[in-house]
Symmetry: C2
Subunit: 411 residues, 2 copies
């Protein structure tokens, strides 16, 4: 067993320095893809990579790669995350995963010299969809060859620009995007903040992710009879709000009854006509429902659909239920999960295996490589906000696990 | 027993003619207070009143009065309703009550000559609040002396005009409003469409209103923890939408359990931040809850409040509950209710006693006079829409009850 030296003060300094680029308030960051702040952040990361002894290159969408060439040929061991942020987001979401990969690789090179197998650190250009709502995972999609020429014109920013124009504006040539595709990645490991409360509540610094959730968004439109709130007796009503309330309680209870890690959320709702003294004509709400296990996920969705149709039938209301988004769950590679788990055990770092309820670049990479993730504790489970926080101590413990795993894979 | 002759074809013609003033589409009407259509409608009604032998006058807010002077002195027997409409509303809400009073009084004068007691027909200027949201009951408020000089500047139309300016624009002098106050009304009877489904479902043309509901609007603001819809396990959530759904189901069930005529409606709701994949921070909704019985009304409100606080406590959420509007219920005068009931019975017109779940000018008049109402059937219970409909047959039966009651009171 060999413990690489990871210096907490360097981790903390790098998180701080990167957060100054696009700083909002004291702890917030707005660094949307291809913005001047994004350009400056990639430049900063490239400079750190070069100092660490990595050979750097940018691909056609602006992903930044730092390569430590192996003495033997073969596909690469890759680690990293995304450099873009929510608007505003915090200092850790994405950024910490890049700093982790860089710091771990730097320590390995310093202590063990050139690896047998090539290690690459990647700063992916885009994951959040915070500038172009449909650009989410732009960086990993390019690596997988999943961006089509039409996407350049149809991916529109909140300010109305096309992503093709914005790329050209900072000197990237969108016609070269197909060249960003990779088929030589053996393993992808991403360190990320948990974005949930589990590790904090379990008082553990580190989680080893065994699967990344699949999610589905339903749009549910319930229609009844708009009528006078005073003159229409309860027994004659066809009230879509009464039905929606029962449906919302029911789908939330379905997720509770199925048990962790099933989750179901209703975060969006609209009433028509939305007057206090009128029984609504229509209530439309969205259901976000997730489970990392494919079979249990289907079971959860069947329960939700059955419940909604049963309530609508019983209350004699029309219901229109359709699926707006759907992403399949992705199990992580059992071998890589075991490797991370064993590395943490050998380093005496307290940890649990857990699933990820949020989606990640790793989900995409799982289509071309063996993947797994390391989670570190998020204070109060907060993310996508300037209040997001992970202690340097926990970040450093996560990076130690990553470095040890990379050593076992590449040396 | 004496049956006044009420001609259905005249009733139908008057409803039709009045509906052409401010016509919207085939059956809709937009006739907001003090608009050109409103001026034309009052002129039309004044002309009909004069032809019927009534002496007409306008008061300071533009209420139109048609007087059949009695041979004996003393306070007046008054019937009528409001001439303004929703925007758009239908042909019957308000208008039918004025046409009913006019047509009944005309028949009495024709068949029985001058009354002993003075009968007055009134076309009240405003009830709906459809041009100035806070002007509701402007006509009856003036008769009761409830308009203050400040109201002229603070009552603002949806187009930003003050009601004082709008009144001056059509030649009314707002400084004269105190002169509109009356203290010489003995009885006020209003015929109105039901605006609910009860009479249609009971297959009855006429209802005798025993009380007018009291209502209260609560604003309920439930606050929890905004968090990621995927990464936050169910058991750690403080989800205000889950709580709001339970509260909404609960208050609706309270009204059902209490039984008719208790009603409770949630017609307005807002979520923050209203994103599909974020557990909301805050859900704000309004409760409209009504009961015509003062003691049962209090009991309903106590149950609602207890339920809301219990759910918020159990789910560890903050709740802010405040009352936005409150109007006390008004029982009708038992003597006038008996008189109307007996008149309908004697005329062999099928009817029931019922309460009004909607508010009416009669509620205001009950503070200075003996009051009661006659309801006629509304098709599908619809109102405040161009689809509102009452058959000429039912309208005529209601007017026969009104005419017979006026005869018994004034001759």
């Amino acid at each position: 067993m060999s413990e690489q030296e990871i210096h907490p003060e360097i981790v903390e300094q790098r998180v701080y320095d990167l957060s100054r680029i696009g700083q909002v308030g004291e702890t917030g960051v707005t660094r949307t893809v291809y913005s001047p702040e994004w350009v400056a952040a990639q430049d900063q990361l490239e400079s750190w990579m070069q100092t660490a002894g990595l050979e750097t290159r940018r691909d056609a969408v602006g992903n930044l790669w730092g390569v430590a060439k192996g003495t033997e040929p073969g596909p690469s061991i890759v680690s990293g995350s995304h450099v873009d942020s929510q608007a505003p987001g915090g200092r850790f979401d994405g950024a910490l995963g890049i700093i982790a990969a860089l710091t771990a690789t730097e320590a390995l090179l310093k202590q063990h010299g050139q690896p047998l197998r090539t290690i690459e650190v990647v700063s992916l250009c885009e994951e959040e969809g915070s500038r172009f709502s449909t650009a989410g995972f732009w960086g990993s999609r390019a690596v997988l060859g999943l961006i089509s020429p039409e996407d350049l014109a149809t991916t529109i920013s909140f300010d109305g620009e096309t992503i093709g124009d914005v790329m050209r504006g900072i000197g990237l040539d969108p016609t070269r995007i197909p060249a960003a595709k990779r088929d030589d990645i053996d393993t992808f490991i991403e360190l990320h903040i948990e974005q949930g409360p589990v590790l904090e509540l379990e008082q553990l610094p580190v989680g080893i992710v065994t699967a990344i959730t699949g999610y589905r968004h339903y749009v549910v439109e319930v229609s009844g009879w708009a009528n006078h709130a005073g003159a229409f007796p309860m027994k004659y009503r066809r009230d879509p709000m009464a039905a929606a309330a029962e449906m919302i309680s029911g789908v939330i209870q379905n997720a509770i009854d199925m048990g962790q890690p099933a989750v179901t959320t209703v975060g969006r709702l609209a009433i028509e006509p939305n007057f206090p003294a009128i029984i609504p004509e229509r209530v439309t709400f969205m259901i976000d429902a997730r489970h990392p296990d494919p079979a249990l996920r289907e079971q959860l969705y069947e329960q939700h659909e059955k419940l909604i149709y049963e309530i609508a039938d019983r209350r004699r209301l029309n219901v229109d239920l359709h699926i707006n988004k759907d992403l399949a769950p992705r199990p992580c590679d059992p071998g890589i999960v075991d490797l991370l788990d064993q590395a943490a055990t050998d380093l005496c770092i307290p940890h649990i295996r857990m699933t990820s309820g949020a989606v990640h670049d790793t989900q995409r990479f799982s289509q071309i490589a063996r993947t797994a993730m390391i989670f570190v504790q998020s204070k109060d489970g907060r993310s996508h906000t300037p209040e997001e926080y992970t202690s340097t101590e926990h970040a450093t413990l996560g990076i130690q696990v990553l470095a040890e795993a990379l050593r076992r894979l590449a040396y």
